[in-house]
């Protein structure tokens, strides 16, 4: 019986150890550094972006600063491989995703890596996936300074923001400084847009913001002889204590 109890206690201990920290997503912040999707030259000399996301319960604030883009509209999306309430960790697409070998990774070819659209980072109005192709409500130009707060977070994504991808779409393929509406190649998502309107230009993966890690109290420090100093201090202290004790007794002795 005692053995069983001990085993049960051990199991309980293991469960407690294994229990995930709760509510880690409340008030959490996330970051991503975006880089060019292979082969999809978004502009010159090279495009990049930094993204910050702060989660405040039901909504989030998203800031995107992107440079080196083509002068076309830029659909901004959160993408994710979402199955029920589970989100898979993955990376951004590489050139190997160009399965039709046409020299670019189009928006559908990248989906095995970044999945579907889960949030549309529009400048106004709806932010759901339904607005994924609302080109008129996305920023445009060679750089993007986007910031919007109060963006609703779909329930299944609330604990999983750190696994989402941020994709900046829109590439000026022909370099004519504008969206070429009559481009022969059409978007793999809609015939209403030219291919350059939805090509993924930049992609990055969100991770939880880091922080300061305080993992030591100096009790074995050697780099500055802290241990020696501590030991020495202890000796000095002990010596002083001995001296203090001896002095009265010495005084006593003389009386």
């Amino acid at each position: 019986m005692r053995l069983i109890t001990t085993a049960a206690t051990a199991s309980l201990g293991l469960l407690l150890i294994a229990a995930p920290a709760s509510a880690v997503h409340e008030g959490s912040t996330y970051e991503a550094n975006l880089s060019e999707v292979a082969d999809n030259d978004p502009g010159s000399p090279s495009g990049s972006a930094s993204v910050e996301v702060s989660q405040d319960g039901e909504t989030m604030t998203v800031s995107i600063n992107a440079t080196g883009l083509g002068n076309v509209p830029h659909a901004l999306h959160f993408h994710g491989i979402v199955d029920g309430d589970e989100v898979s960790a993955s990376s951004c697409p590489t050139a190997s995703r160009d399965v039709n070998d046409d020299g670019v990774v189009d928006v559908a070819e990248g989906a095995p890596d970044y999945g579907g659209v889960v949030v549309s980072l529009t400048t106004e109005g709806d932010t759901s996936a339904d607005s994924a192709l609302a080109v008129e409500r996305f920023p445009a130009g060679t750089s993007v300074n986007y910031s919007r707060s109060g963006i609703p977070i779909p329930d299944e994504l609330k604990p999983n923001l750190a696994k989402l991808h941020i994709v900046v779409h829109g590439v000026d393929e022909d370099g004519n400084g504008e969206l070429t509406a009559d481009q022969a190649e059409r978007s793999s998502l809609t015939d209403d847009l030219p291919r350059e309107g939805t090509l993924p230009a930049l992609c990055g993966t969100l991770t939880a913001t880091g922080g300061v890690v305080q993992t030591g109290d100096g009790s074995s420090a050697t780099g500055n002889n802290a241990g020696l100093i501590a030991f020495g201090s202890a000796l000095v202290g002990a010596g002083a204590l001995v001296a203090l004790r001896r002095r009265p007794s010495a005084v006593d002795a003389t009386i």
Partner: protein
């Protein structure tokens, strides 16, 4: 994209998705084989997903032969879900072994202490997994921290700085599986100046960062000035 390519794309995507579901890409098969030591057949990634929805683009060539039906947003999401079966899922870590430096320690879970600091283990003997980071074995960086010293003596990661490229780190999951990482490099940085690739996404494979303290101990603050970071990854 040429008209021919446009016609081929949906089919290619379908084949790609089906191929990944059925067999897993070679690279991920390699992951499973190399990364799980002494582990029975089930791979890290979900078993080839009979239940995973296959992408279902239904190409309908237009009469003029120059156009095919675009991939809908729902189909885009399906393509992602189909590939999930081949992605490594990682483990919830409960123990870490670093043979080179004699570490065999329990792993607890760590959240954030406050806006600036992440939690650290309460004891000298334990290491801790920062739960907002990736699960070890998932694509992306998993963070495991431990003390260099505590409560009067050396702690679990006291010898972390001795690790060198090629050393192995074995992380055990609560499901009995384990993931083996290989040390790539290490660094020592002021605590407020950690490089982006410590916590940030880096590379396209499962990564591990072991973090402890180092450098000069500041008696005024009661903390070390630096962090020592060991960068490791799962061999793919």
């Amino acid at each position: 994209m040429t008209p021919t390519a446009r016609r081929i794309l949906p089919i290619a995507l379908l084949l790609l998705g089906v191929g990944m579901v059925a067999a897993g890409l070679g690279v991920f098969s390699g992951t499973n084989r190399l990364s799980i030591n002494d582990s029975p057949a089930p791979p890290l990634g979900r078993a080839a997903g009979v239940d995973a929805p296959a992408p279902s683009p239904s190409p309908a060539p237009a009469a003029d032969g120059t156009s095919t039906a675009p991939v809908s947003l729902a189909e885009l999401a399906d393509i992602g879900r189909a590939s999930a079966a081949s992605l490594p899922r990682g483990i919830t870590p409960v123990r870490i072994e670093v043979p080179t430096i004699g570490v065999d320690a329990d792993v607890v879970t760590l959240g954030r202490k406050n806006a600036e600091e992440i939690e650290v283990p309460h004891t000298a003997e334990q290491a801790g997994w920062y739960t907002p980071s990736r699960r070890p074995g998932e694509i992306g960086p998993a963070i495991i921290a431990g003390h260099v010293d505590l409560d009067g003596g050396p702690a679990v990661f006291h010898r972390l700085r001795e690790l060198a490229a090629g050393d192995t780190i074995i992380v055990h999951g609560d499901d009995g599986k384990q993931v083996t990482f290989v040390v790539a490099t290490k660094g020592q940085y002021p605590k407020d100046g950690l490089p982006d690739n410590v916590f940030g996404f880096d590379g396209a494979r499962p990564e591990l960062r072991l973090i402890t303290c180092g450098g000069v101990f500041n008696h005024a603050t009661g903390h070390y000035e630096d962090n020592v970071v060991v960068y490791a990854h799962q061999e793919l």
